[in-house]
Amino acid sequence: MSDFKFEKGKMVPVPSHSIIPERDIGKTPVLECNHLGIDFGGLRAVDDFNFTIGKTEIAGLIGPNGAGKTTVFNLLTKVYTPTRGTILLNGIDTSGKNTVQINKMGIARTFQNIRLFTNLTVEDNVKIGLHNSKKYSTIEGILRLPSYWKTEKAAHERAMELLSIFNMEHLASWRAGNLPYGAQRKLEIVRALATDPCLLLLDEPAAGMNPAETAELMENIVKIRDTFQIAVLLIEHDMKLVMGICEGICVLNFGQVIAKGTADDIRHNPTVIEAYLGKRGAE
């Protein structure tokens, strides 16, 4: 609790419903959702969602299938416009912004159903992530002016550097759609990181991976957080992964937050156990 700081002349209060790690306390939370909600027709897909993520926190969002987890990601990235509530990114209200602006403000994501640019190479997929950081105009590109060569070289080098996180440099010239499943998930993470986010959203990153791959992924998520000094919010069904690396965990059921806390809090929470067992019993 040592580094309370005055930012831009005013102390930033940490909301009471937060569970952000000690090292982030006193800094503006990277994400703050207040009473966030959306209806699809009569269905309250997400309701009264309050959640705060610290600057360098790894947070988890769990819950049974259909609980509304992916919908939360779509709200954060403005794929859907929230019916209710506010989202603050680094203290800035994101209402009225669109998906592109949200990415420029610092949220990058992966998708539950992998969404790569399948006909393009792995390297091009990452370079597309660099679209807004390695820039030159269309005319410069068509005329192949010096800025084209210079920026393309920088983009190539950066793409290779990012691919090296998952040791994927040798796959650079592969067609993305031909990659094995696990590598496609990793490429999505690399592409998201290429946009230089401050908050990385991962939607079931370990889905379809074997235990060894999952273990490697866990290490890499921590490595990414440590090297990039960013926050990560992940949706995952693999409890070993969630309990292993998430500092704050939020449990959703039928669009409602039923529990929030550290891994230990969640593990022993009777409501959570019931939600999960109840679902398993029904299957």
Binding site: T70, N74, T77, V79, N98, T99, V100, N103, K104, A108, R109, F111, N113, R115, L116, F117, T118, N119, L120, D124, K127, I128, G129, H131, N132, K134, K135, Y136, T138, G141, I142, L143, R144, Y148, W149, T151, E152, K153, A155, S173, R191, A192, A194, T195
Partner: protein, 353 residues
């Protein structure tokens, strides 16, 4: 770039340039030795124009992934604006090369403006409205040109719509409604056609292998993912479509200035479909394929298969369907599913974010 391996894309573009240059040299030599029949020589400029139309449509259909059924409309805009300018400048600009250059630029410019006007409302929408709107655009342009009169007399240029009585005594009609433009001085040459093809190929390949081109292909492959990495969808769709339209306009100007007479009927729905057939048979996104299929499919019915030319569209339709069945190409299938209402892929996509 140093010792870096030449990428597949770069290799592909150089092969295309090579084939086009080789074909140009070969045909020029054959023509100078008198080995080409006059029918064949007469086809050289139109073939160049249709090659340009095909590669430009391939930019929209293959690279951008949008379906346009009115590409001949942009050719029409380029043809009539370019030919009008060329005729109007006949006395003041004596050099044929300069006049052709101006006409092609004017044709490309007007087609680009129409591309922008058509594209801006449609390409903002999610879904496949472009096919319908371009189809209507082609028909509208045809109707407008059929009823448009442009003439020149002592007091300058005059334009009339529906009414051809616009000139004082001694004036000269340039665009004469349903009779189109006649008495054109043929200033398009095979060499100028070749040069425009090369310029268009260089623009397309350099675009595709650049930041903007990657953005265009990204939104083709996955719109939602492209947005999630900060790509402005409307901007890049519009960019690709306007470039494509302007190249079709250049093709139209080149074509018109290689004919004695052009009428609006030349650029109808059948022509749009013909260009689309060139693109689909040549392979979506494959520029060399478009060049070859445009050449073969334009020349064959005009020469050796003359007796079958009445059945041209029928044969193309059958071949088109056969190609779809044989290749079972996912892109072609997507293209077909766009034409069949209720099979909207994009909507499906949206639900599974």
């Amino acid at each position: 770039m140093g010792k870096r391996k030449i990428s597949k894309n770069t290799r592909q573009s150089f092969i295309t340039y090579g084939v086009v240059i080789a074909a140009y040299i070969l045909l020029t030599v054959l023509a100078s030795t008198g080995a080409l029949s006059s029918t064949f020589k007469g086809l050289l400029v139109p073939v160049c124009a249709y090659i340009i139309a095909a590669i430009s449509l391939n930019l929209t259909v293959g690279v951008l992934g949008e379906l346009s059924l009115g590409h001949a409309g942009f050719m029409s805009v380029g043809a009539f604006s370019g030919a009008t300018v060329a005729i109007a400048l006949k006395d003041s600009v004596p050099s044929e090369w300069v006049r052709l250059l101006i006409a092609v630029i004017v044709g490309a410019f007007f087609a680009a403006i129409f591309g922008f006007i058509v594209g801006i409302p449609v390409l903002r929408l999610r879904g496949d409205y472009l096919a319908i709107v371009t189809l209507a655009f082609g028909e509208i342009i045809k109707t407008i040109v059929t009823n448009l009169y442009i003439g020149k007399d002592a007091s300058g240029m005059h334009i009339g719509f529906l009414d051809g009585d616009i000139l004082e005594r001694g004036g000269k009609m340039i665009l004469n409604g349903p009779n189109g433009i006649s008495g054109i001085t043929k200033i398009s040459t095979f060499t100028s056609g070749f040069i425009i093809i090369m310029i268009c190929l260089i623009i397309i390949f350099n675009l595709v292998n650049s930041r903007s081109g990657r953005a265009i292909m990204a939104l083709r492959d996955n719109r939602i993912a492209a947005e999630s990495v900060g790509i402005n969808i409307t901007k890049y769709k519009l960019m690709a479509f306007v470039i494509s339209a302007s190249m079709a306009g250049a093709a139209g100007a080149l074509y018109a200035l290689g004919q004695n007479t052009v009428t609006a009927n030349k650029f109808d729905f059948n022509t749009s479909i013909l260009i689309l057939v060139f693109v689909v048979l040549g392979g979506l996104g494959n520029m060399l394929g478009s060049v070859i299929s445009a050449t073969v499919l334009y020349v064959l019915p005009e020469t050796w298969l003359r007796q079958f030319s009445d059945y041209r569209m029928l044969i193309y339709a059958v071949v088109l369907i056969a190609v779809m069945l044989v290749t079972n190409n996912s892109k072609i299938r997507a293209l077909v599913s766009r034409l069949i209402p209720g099979k909207n892929k994009d909507k499906e996509d949206e639900k599974n974010v």
